[in-house]
Symmetry: C2
Subunit: 508 residues, 2 copies
């Protein structure tokens, strides 16, 4: 077994080197690359991705897995070796069923579609992307076709980001969540809106960046293994377990926009930085699912970073950093401002309560498209109708409607969105479990001590990387399956006093 395992690891390391190199090229593309570099860079990344795919889908890896599976099945379920073989098998089966020619065509199509979208969105021109989106849908179904026997064509696509969840599972969870969430949204939006004008003041870029970096350093983000740079869209990326970077953008007319994006990305990054270093270069060295990843960004951004306790501690420092805008703003006003709930058009600007409605409508539309109940030509209209019924807002144009998200225009349709809401749900569930183990966590946060929470997360979530599936991990870390109760409880406990809500039966 030793020899086969070593050979498997050697091959996986080579694949990983190619993937990580691609990530460096992509990071540079969005941070520092001059415009003249664009054409060659696209080709270079495509070459590296193709080589990684070729090497990963080599039949020899399949044979090694065949040989190792009966052996590692005898090991304890949580042994690293058994986990490595399980995780590699999952990814191998996903990758090896799909012909290289399809991947190649898909990459080319997506690059083209993305390019067209960058022009079509500002021009509010859905007609321009429509034929491309039709091809994307066709290719998404073709992709699903490589996994016959699926309950829904959406399932293999969901598997790519949230392995093991079926469309029917997501639908059930989302259905329950929706029933309980909508009354809360209604109750909040019936109240006078919070005043967040204190946030929309001039705040110099350098101070914004410095403040955010100092906070995430205290959270536990390790700067000897990371750094922050500026990009148009913030993201987290990893080049090894020793180099996990984040990016942000700064709006000088918004005191906290860069800050919350930094806290968000630091959650993703601390997850990756916390993975067992011995997993380096293998499929284990990665967050286990989109939902679990998002649980960490949302936990640190919202559950911690938008909590009253945290700002009891941090607000005086923020006031010192931005005396002009904030010195005369009471903590209470600031706290209400950063937790303003409102129905809005754009998902990425949405608050943590209504965000889920944005996600659910996208998820349902994806499944409807894939299952043939909705055609691309009817998509803008379906978006408008659903937006009106779910969020009570008339969508003024496609730019801020169906064209707003990059996902469908740069990748497959299906599985792209559910992770955001699963992340809200799981973030609250992990936080609740951490507080059961250490009831003083909220108190400690209010004193600027984050190590207890961070250590619990590292021990129970981060270090395992992809050794367990999301479902296995949630069961181990929280003692039960995924549940919407902690999230609904968290929302109620936070927003009931903020908006002086009266009992909303469904919420508790």
């Amino acid at each position: 077994m030793k020899a086969s395992l070593d050979e498997l690891k050697r091959r996986l390391l080579e694949v990983n080197d190619l993937q990580m190199a691609t990530a460096v090229l992509r990071w540079d593309q969005t941070t520092y690359m001059p415009p003249g570099g664009a054409e060659a860079r696209g080709r270079q990344m495509a070459t590296l991705s193709r080589l990684a795919h070729e090497k990963f889908t080599d039949q020899e890896i399949g044979k090694l897995l065949d040989r190792l599976e009966p052996e590692t099945a005898k090991l304890p379920f949580d042994s690293d070796e058994a986990g490595l073989v399980r995780a590699t098998r999952r990814e191998y089966d996903q990758a090896a069923r799909v012909p290289a020619a399809f991947i190649s065509e898909l990459n080319e199509h997506c690059a083209h579609s993305y390019q067209v979208w960058t022009e079509a969105r500002p021009a509010n021109d859905f007609a321009r992307v429509r034929p491309l989106l039709e091809k994307t849908l066709e290719m998404s179904r073709e992709y699903a076709g490589y996994f016959p026997g699926s309950e829904s064509p959406a399932d293999p696509l969901i598997d790519l980001s949230d392995y093991g969840m079926k469309a029917s599972d997501v639908r059930r969870v989302f259905g329950e969540l929706r029933t309980r969430l909508v009354p809360i949204v209604r109750a909040i939006t019936a109240k006078p809106p919070a005043d967040d004008s204190c946030l929309h003041q001039h705040a110099p870029e350098a101070q914004q960046l410095a403040f955010g970096l100092e906070i995430i350093r205290r959270f536990g983000y390790d700067f000897t293994r990371g750094r922050q740079d500026k990009t148009h869209h913030p993201f987290m990326t990893k080049f090894s377990l020793g180099d996990v970077r984040i990016t942000t953008r700064v709006r000088e007319d918004d005191v906290t926009d860069a800050l919350f994006s930094t806290l968000h990305e630091s959650g993703h990054a601390m997850y990756e930085q916390g993975i067992d270093r011995s997993y380096e270069g293998s499929p284990l060295a990665s967050g286990t699912s989109s939902g679990v990843h998002e649980s960490q960004s949302r936990l640190w951004e919202n559950v911690v970073g938008r909590s009253r306790g945290f700002w009891n501690y941090a607000y005086p420092e923020l006031q010192r950093a931005f005396p002009g805008p904030l010195s005369k703003v009471p903590l209470d006003t600031f706290y209400r401002a950063i937790n303003k709930v409102q129905r809005s058009l754009i998902r990425t600007d949405a608050d943590e309560v209504t965000y889920n409605l944005h996600v659910m409508l996208r998820f349902d539309i994806e499944v409807d498209l894939l299952e043939g109940r909705l055609a691309i030509r009817d998509l803008p209209e379906a978006w408008r109708a659903r937006f009106e019924s779910d969020l009570g807002l008339a969508v003024p144009d496609d730019r801020d409607g169906v064209l707003q998200d990059v996902h469908w225009y740069s990748g497959l349709i299906g599985g792209a969105f559910q992770g955001y809401t699963l992340g809200n749900v799981l973030g609250a569930q992990f936080y609740a479990a951490a507080c059961r183990a250490h009831p003083d966590i909220p108190e400690r946060i209010a004193k600027g001590e984050f190590a207890t929470l961070h250590t619990w997360l590292r021990e129970n979530v981060y270090r395992h990387g992809a050794k367990f599936t999301a479902a296995e991990l949630v069961q181990r870390a929280t003692g039960g399956p995924m549940s919407i109760e902690p999230y609904l409880g968290y929302l109620w406990d936070k927003y009931q006093p903020l908006y002086d809500l009266e009992g909303v039966a469904a919420a508790r």
Copy 2:
């Protein structure tokens, strides 16, 4: 022929993608990478280099060359197709003889050795790098061993940077140059030293960077296809013909250090930016030799950037940028200061006259090491002795002695240094040829017009990339073989009036 040529180009493009990706990883390593990323980064670069080497040395490329050579030999010598086949053949024969395992080991060793050197140099600790350097020497000899029949083991190593020059050729040129140069150095250093105290004043980093960038923009460096970042050691690197970057360092107690490093790197970069865009992704898309490359950095840094004419034009602007240090310093004083000649310890700080003595002693030491006349354990002592005899200076420690240059600690020993002095020689020779074609070039430079010179260089040097060898290129561009006369003439014409020298017979 078309099909074979297309197949060759396709394969070369894939190799180039891997090489350029490696260059991005290396650039990031020295600019932005956090320390935790070092270990994996070394491995990632090694993997990409190994794959590039494997793919380039694929027998199929050898067969394609065999098939194409008789065909392209019928084409005009300067046809791109013929040039591509010649350049590819040169590199293929160099690469195919070296086993992939050797390259892999070498890359890993060099990454490690470099890492140790970065700590050993400030600690003045030669003993720490000694065993690594012994391995480097052993591997350098092993490399040379793959090219049996060489006159000297240094020859295959020199071929890597200055293809076609043997150690004996270099020694001959250096011998002649030395004979004529030493009397000039003696004559200058017998005079009272220039006063360069005006340069050693406080100059804020931001202004230094801005001034340098503005000058190279006027030289013709294209910022849509490049950028500048800060590193410990300045360098130029290329990720495609559309993305040619430079780096610099800033010393705030030195007004012009960053400036001249910027002018220097811009020369390298303009060479690469000037290559025919249709060569993208092939072995033609590269400077043809280390000597020719260095001729361009030195031409722009010294022949232009340290000329009286240039500063007639640029000095008022520099004074405006740094009024504190310079407003009361006359141009004449400044001009003498930036052309101060003195025997000094550090190569990279040396003036353009004594620089060559630094290079020659390194070249001789490299050959002595490779030919077995010198052992690594005796290297610090040999360095001291040679330094004393050549430059008349006692070397106080290894930090500023044998540990000063990165080359031997990050790559093979052999062929690393001769290019600098060949560059001095060729820079003057190209400049003289440009002035023969356009006698108004000096006048134009004195007015801040650099386009005539830049255009001549692009037409006669840059655009050809590696289509011609250095020897072929020099012949075509200057009408004769490499000659030390233009360089000696340039030095005499410049330094005779500066130091009020009396006739030094050897110089003219």
